[in-house]
Symmetry: C3
Subunit: 475 residues, 3 copies
């Protein structure tokens, strides 16, 4: 028996009801070809710095760097080593890409009904022209096809960027990053719109591994000797200005909890000095983080960078995996998150400030209707980011629309982020969002809550307009 073909149905993901489906298709038709606005993600800017950069082989493109993919394979007992995930100590892992690919292909059924399965299928079919479904038999033929495509000039990163219709792509970069790749892109004269984002987590989290070195690097890049909280703040402010000069419009902040607290100058200096001596306590870490969220908001009111907050992930849940393979290996697990009380100090200080824009994300969907939508529905500075990480999925989007929009209102949301490291999956991810947006709006039209003119306008905002506005990419 031959492996059957894959189909990308024109009406995929729309509600089966005929009325809603027709309306969804009509709304989607109006936004399908709009440019891609990608204001938050983790694509490596070096892909665009060198016009000859390439994605490597199919296994290097699709499996080894993608924790969404290898975590699912690992969950069924496949060792990470067998999937070629590199070890920190340089120890042996599988290095035959075709062997890894075969393992992936024969377990491809595990992705049934998952967003990873949907993105992979879309990417394979519409980017690489694959027709056969992936399984053990078709594996090597598909590998060959992808490899052949990747060798062609139109599959180089810059060519795909243009082919995908990307209007802007923002990367995520450490506060001490010299942004060499971004500088190289500018020098090259290539017209792609790649912008950095200022992410200071490793210099804000006093217990981050290597904090002292990160502080050193921060000071060196800023040309400031960091000996005090004051010089630390100077260095951060300078780096923010540098990022802004390189095109950044936003900062990004992770935290276990969105805790905020204003410390006095004396308190914060005392904690900072303890940290410089490597004597910070967990309580110091918590208070300093809480204080720095306020400081970052304050800086945003001054330099106009949009502030993003991504709380709630307990990183590196399994220390053995972390020790062997490092971070971002699929073992980051969400935790219950509280916003109402945690954000109160920040929102009292800056939540009604006309220059602050604060975009919130969550991994705790219970906060959508209980805390986030009520907060975004009244504080002028707040916008809600799209469904994040595990919730960047069909049902995740559906729940977001149903639980956020009635209370927050669409115009207090920030459109879509693809948040991906997997550059070639970007069109797939935006397509899912646009289809689900169209389907949600179609449901409101079918229930006579909106008319089609309203739905068309809202769909275009959801596809591009809200993201441009929320990230100040239109200014």
């Amino acid at each position: 028996m031959q492996t059957p073909d894959w189909q990308l149905d024109d009406n995929r993901f729309f509600d089966p009801d005929h009325t809603q489906r027709s309306l969804a298709a009509e709304i989607y038709a109006g936004i399908a070809h709009l440019p891609i606005v990608s204001p938050h993600g983790h694509v490596d800017p070096r892909l665009f710095a060198d016009e000859n950069a390439s994605f490597g082989n199919p296994t290097e493109l699709l499996i080894i760097p993608d924790h969404y993919v290898f975590r699912m394979l690992h969950s069924q007992g496949i060792p990470l080593e067998a999937l070629g995930v590199p070890r920190r100590d340089g120890g042996a892992v599988e290095n035959d890409p075709r062997k890894i690919w075969q393992l992936f292909a024969q377990n491809f059924y595990l992705f049934r009904g998952t967003p990873s399965g949907i993105w992979l299928q879309h990417e394979l079919v519409s980017v690489f022209g694959i027709r056969q479904k992936m399984d053990a038999r078709s594996a090597q033929a598909i590998y060959d096809e992808i490899a052949a495509r990747l060798a062609q000039p139109e599959f180089k990163p810059r060519a795909l960027y243009e082919h995908f219709g990307i209007e802007v792509l923002c990367t995520t970069d450490a506060a001490s990053d010299p942004l060499l790749a971004h500088q190289a892109i500018r020098r090259s004269g290539w017209q792609g719109n790649i912008r950095p984002t200022f992410r200071p987590d490793t210099v804000v989290d006093l217990l981050a591994p290597g904090w002292a070195e990160h502080i050193q690097a921060l000071g060196a890049q800023a040309g400031v000797e960091i000996v005090s909280y004051r010089s630390y703040i100077q260095a951060l402010e300078q780096r923010r200005m540098f990022f802004k000069s390189m095109g950044a419009t936003a900062t990004d902040h992770a935290a276990l909890a969105p805790y905020t607290e204003a410390l006095s100058p004396g308190q914060v200096e005392t904690i900072f000095q303890r940290a410089l001596k490597n004597q910070a306590s967990p309580q110091d870490v918590r208070q300093f983080n809480g204080h720095m969220q306020l400081e970052m908001a304050r800086m945003s009111t001054e330099d106009g960078l949009v502030m993003q907050l991504h709380p709630g992930s307990l990183r590196n849940h399994n220390l053995e995996v972390f020790a062997r393979f490092g971070p971002d290996k699929g073992f980051d697990i969400p935790t219950a998150t509280e916003f109402t009380r945690n954000l109160q100090p920040l929102l009292q200080a800056y939540g009604r400030h006309p220059r602050l824009a604060l975009i919130l994300f969550t991994l705790d969907e219970t906060t959508y209707s209980r805390e986030l939508a009520p907060l975004a529905g009244v504080y002028p500075a707040l916008k809600l980011g799209p469904p994040w990480w595990f919730f960047d999925s069909l049902n995740g989007m559906h729940r977001y629309f149903e639980q956020v929009m009635e209370t927050a209102g669409l115009y207090n949301t920030a459109g879509f982020n693809d948040d991906t490291r997997a550059f070639a999956s970007i069109p797939a991810r935006h397509d899912v969002w646009r289809r689900l947006s169209a389907n949600w709006l179609a449901g409101l039209v079918a229930r006579h809550i909106l008319d089609m003119a309203e739905a068309h306008a809202m769909a275009a905002d959801m596809a591009c307009g809200l993201a441009r506005g929320a990230y100040r990419l239109d200014q």
Copy 2:
């Protein structure tokens, strides 16, 4: 281009599926014209005390008193002052009602897909006969139309009460309120059924602003000098009897958490004496509140007043807004709420008492399936109130039906409350509930879980019968 017309489609809010929609329409037709039972709300009784009372101008009717409306406008950066929200210090705010109306109209698109948008549209179309959609161009013409209607005798509050088919309307009144408006209504001979509800929050929360004055007022109204916990209880019991004599069938209690705890007579007296000396601690407040929930339940077993508990709102999240504009300005934000343990002392004491009726509300929807439905599905004294505040919405009702009914059973719920200050929105709110009830039941019929006879009976209960029974309005 002319502003298009508004349509109130006969099938609005029903599922697009043809089968479910037809069934929903049939079920709805059986309940659409039933009288309105409004057992919990915040309409000002003075509207009915004077037969010539009026609603003021359109801006005074629809914008200035409605925090649902002005919070959404504020969330997009419009200052509350520009919307005419009065300042506590009497400072200047916009006082041109047409200017405020214009701002409202040009931002009316913000309400797309929100319950406020749905209520406003229903009210404008079916109460005031407006046909044009609201936007910047139609704003002043619509203002004129509404103003003209409001000047007519059939748009006075008593006339609308009758026109709306209201069977009973319960207000919410402070424990020390002399209920002058209710007395005036009785004296006037008007036949409207307006009843007070006993709400003692400001005399129970020891740290409520002005607690001492409220206690004074309570004592004065009760004819009791409050010098001890014992005299305090006497005063409360007397006031409850007075409210009951004025037609009240229920009490209402707010709390940050539904914490309950039985204190000994010595403990409670000690705390009360500290409070009289203005020395109560936060711990005292918490314990006293917890104790008073038990006391109120005990009183209910004696006087038969139905007890309502509305926990979970962190009031006045932004202290600057509170200082400038006072309470109820859209800055009350929900918090995670725990019922299983918090209510255990109360439910052990009175949860199986044949005379207690306790109606619970929540702003934390996670408690629907996890705590509230399991509790209501076994304790005879418990009923669940309808989806509250932010959840009095299409999706809020849908989630409530899906998450509560299977475990609690319909007959352990309390029907609908409109809970509104906006009198003219009452028909719109009940209509949404009736349509969503019909649609939910239609889905059960379409899935062969109920037959139509059952659905019709349940729909009538949801529209009126359950509320009458739960609030003892049928006794």
Copy 3:
């Protein structure tokens, strides 16, 4: 007027949309007649030990032992005594089964739209051939019909077991249980596949009523004198081996929270000695439980028994009911549950161990998408059990599919458990699961996320395959 007939529609529970319904019916047709795999439940094995065992009268079959049923009746004020629920002190309760039945029948409308109502209707129609709907008028006739059937040989437990097409049925048995009924079944030569499950809660929870006696019994059964933690562990290991020799493939563990913590040998011995002297503190109980979860996981890696964890129920919420009627009387109420941090010690120690299989259940649905699916989607040892207890319902299953599957993937779930004491309801419960599975898959096919071949394969896995695999019943 005659009481109308009951209908069990062929398409019941399927989505009303024509496309989805047709697909669901087609998928369901492929699994409707597969054997029943029941890997977790509470049926009394004595029903099968004696070939002449019987279910008693209709009231003894359907009402008195079923807390799902009598809790709903009690919630409307009917005393448990009036429903024949036996008192611990032997005090008088209603003992006329027809009187109890009449009360049940006239209140049968309370079960509209509840899973109990659906199971009861299915059981009455398809097991007992009842046609009339249950109400006050039909009550005694229906009683007569059921009683007549129960007297027939084909309604004895063993006959129904075969008639139902059960492949395997696992019971739940205390760690100290001699498994006499299971031994009798084996000796009888009857071919039914009834297996015990090892449940050590009463010997692990140091404050369980009668802990000392349970420890005594455990030691006696194991042939070990339990004087130390070490001998306690020996006894547990021996009992596990005995259960395994009697066909057990799994253990089962309840806990208020899924807290895990590794204690040192000295710490655990100290706590155990305090417990032997009846001096254990609440903190001891918590730590000992947390430690024993780790120990049980360790034993599972050695003896291969699948470990089940059922946390989150606050048992016996009403102490008066507990004192009078004992446990399992409908007053067990869920609480918020945390898995990410609580399970971290256990998952770090054994979560990637190739021999551990840990099946998690929850009564807190917020953990589906936030914690459980992300954990099961990466840890090889983890599988998620089906929706449990209150969530073994149409909407409970729907939420489980929508909130778990995208992130965990179907193959990290454990199929279905009926978890019932009510043997005659088993086909009804599996039928609901199969219909809802088919309907969920049909929705994915209708949205072009799966093709029909995939859906058919997944449906069969959901009906039987996943349960067989997860519980190692196929080894």
